[in-house]
Symmetry: C2
Subunit: 121 residues, 2 copies
DNA sequence: CGCACTCTCAACCAGATGGTTGACAAGATG
DNA sequence: CATCTTGTCAACCATCTGGTTGAGAGTGCG
C-alpha cells in the first residue's frame, strides 16, 4: 500500500465496490448493514472495504449505540484532483512548447544550425 | 486489479514510483534506460511499472531501433478527474440540501410533523 | 434477565503485486 | 564478424489484497 496518503487514496478508489460505496455515501450517511445489503459479499468483506476507505481518510465511522453510521469526507478527494490537474496541465504546456519548437523548426528548415538537442534531460 | 479500466487507472497511480514516472514524462518522452537511472531498483522493475501504466492506457511505448521511447498519454487522466469531480459535486449538493433541511427544521422547530425520514435509502 | 441485532476480530486462503536474478533477442558500432 | 547496448522474458519469492467462515463483544429491548 506504500504508506503515503496519496497512494492510499488512489488505491482506495482502485476498486469498483469501494467506488460504489463512495457513490452511495454521497447520498448520505449509512450503516454497515444498509450498505452491505447492496453487494453480493459478506458483511465482513464490506467492512474491510470501509476500513480501506477509512485509512485513506475518505470515510469516518460514527458511534450511535450499536450502529455505526458511515460518513463520507468528500474533501479528501481534493488532493487527487489537484495531482491530476497539475500533471494534466503540465503535459498540455509541454505539448504547446513542442508545437512552438516544431513551428520554429519549420521556419528554420534549411538552417539546422541551432537545432541540436531540444531538451535531453 | 479488477479488470475495468477506471480501476486499472486508479491502481496505476497508487504507487509513488509510477506517479513519479508520470511526472517525469510530462517533461517529454524518455527511454527505459533514462527513466530507470532515477530509481533505486532494477531496470526490469521499472519496466514492470511501465507495463502497469501501459495497461492503464497512461503510457505508450514506441519503437526506434533498439530504443523504445515512452510517451505519456495525458488524456487518459481525464476519466479520473471526471469521476472525482462528479462525486465531489454530488457530495457538495447533498451538503447544501442538508443545510436546507436544517434550515427548515430550525424554522419548524415546534412542528416535527412532516419531518419523518428525509431519505432513508 | 435473556435474546436478538449490529458490528468487529481472527484465522485462513487464492491470487495479484512489486521486487529480485539470470538468460537472451535485436540493433548499433567498432 | 565481434561485441556492447537496450530492452524483454521467465522463474522465483515475500508480502498485500479481497474474499471466506466462525466466534464474540456491546447495545437495545421484550
Amino acid at each position: 500500500m506504500s504508506t503515503d496518503q496519496l497512494s492510499r487514496t488512489f488505491a482506495a478508489l482502485a476498486d469498483p465496490t469501494r467506488r460504489d460505496l463512495v457513490a452511495r455515501l454521497t447520498l448520505g450517511d449509512a450503516t454497515l448493514g444498509e450498505l452491505a445489503g447492496s453487494y453480493d459479499m459478506s458483511l465482513q468483506a464490506v467492512s474491510k472495504h470501509l476500513t480501506v476507505l477509512e485509512r485513506a481518510g475518505l470515510v469516518t465511522r460514527g458511534q450511535a449505540g450499536t450502529r455505526r453510521p458511515v460518513h463520507l469526507e468528500a474533501d479528501r478527494l481534493d488532493p487527487l484532483t489537484d495531482w491530476l490537474e497539475h500533471y494534466r496541465r503540465q503535459a498540455e504546456q509541454r505539448y504547446q512548447r513542442l508545437d512552438a519548437v516544431l513551428a520554429v523548426l519549420a521556419a528554420d528548415e534549411a538552417y539546422p544550425d541551432t537545432a541540436g538537442k531540444e531538451e535531453e534531460r
